[in-house]
């Protein structure tokens, strides 16, 4: 999993089966010091409470689909938590 910052929302009215009702957010991946790292991705919001500006952590690949219910949806990134604090001593 990686840290990310939600930078926007995606609206798509025509979607593949399984994506109905899935909230899609634009997420900028971050390094551990919260600096942008790589290109933005579109992630499904599996916590259903994330929104623009929030620091989140994102799971990628097949495990992203398993964050959603039902699980086998066409998704390759999912937000699975909103970060309260990153502690880097």
């Amino acid at each position: 999993m990686q840290l990310g910052r939600v930078t926007g929302t995606v609206v798509a009215s025509v979607k593949a089966n399984g994506l109905e009702g899935v909230k899609l957010l634009v997420v900028q991946p971050l390094d551990e010091h919260r600096e942008p790292d790589g290109r933005a991705v579109v992630a499904a919001d599996a916590v259903r409470m994330a929104g623009p500006g929030e620091l989140v952590y994102v799971v990628a690949a097949r495990e992203a689909a398993e964050a959603l219910d039902p699980a086998f949806v066409p998704v390759d990134h999912a937000i699975v938590g909103i970060v309260d604090e990153v502690d880097l001593p």
Partner: protein, 85 residues
């Protein structure tokens, strides 16, 4: 699996139910570079050199679940690595 160094922790209260009560560690990857946030099952701490599993099937076996959004798990604390020349 990958060798990594634990450099920090992540605290989250709003999360997917799978992560309730799980400890999340920031692990700097030694060979691959970059980092991963991984769930800790061995009580590793900041500064420890660890073994990180980054594969979903193995991760689900560890947690004995059929389905779950988990892929990266800290599965060992490394004492030593020998690489004879």
């Amino acid at each position: 699996m990958k060798l990594a160094r634990v450099t920090g922790t992540v605290v989250s209260s709003i999360n997917h139910p799978f992560f309730d009560g799980q400890r999340l560690l920031i692990c700097d990857l030694e060979e691959a570079g970059g980092y991963l946030i991984a769930v800790d099952v061995v009580d590793a701490g900041v500064g420890d050199r660890v073994l990180v599993l980054d594969e979903g099937n193995g991760a689900r076996q560890i947690f004995e679940i059929d389905s779950g959004p988990i892929r990266s798990v800290v599965v060992g604390i490394v004492d030593d690595v020998h690489e004879p020349a």
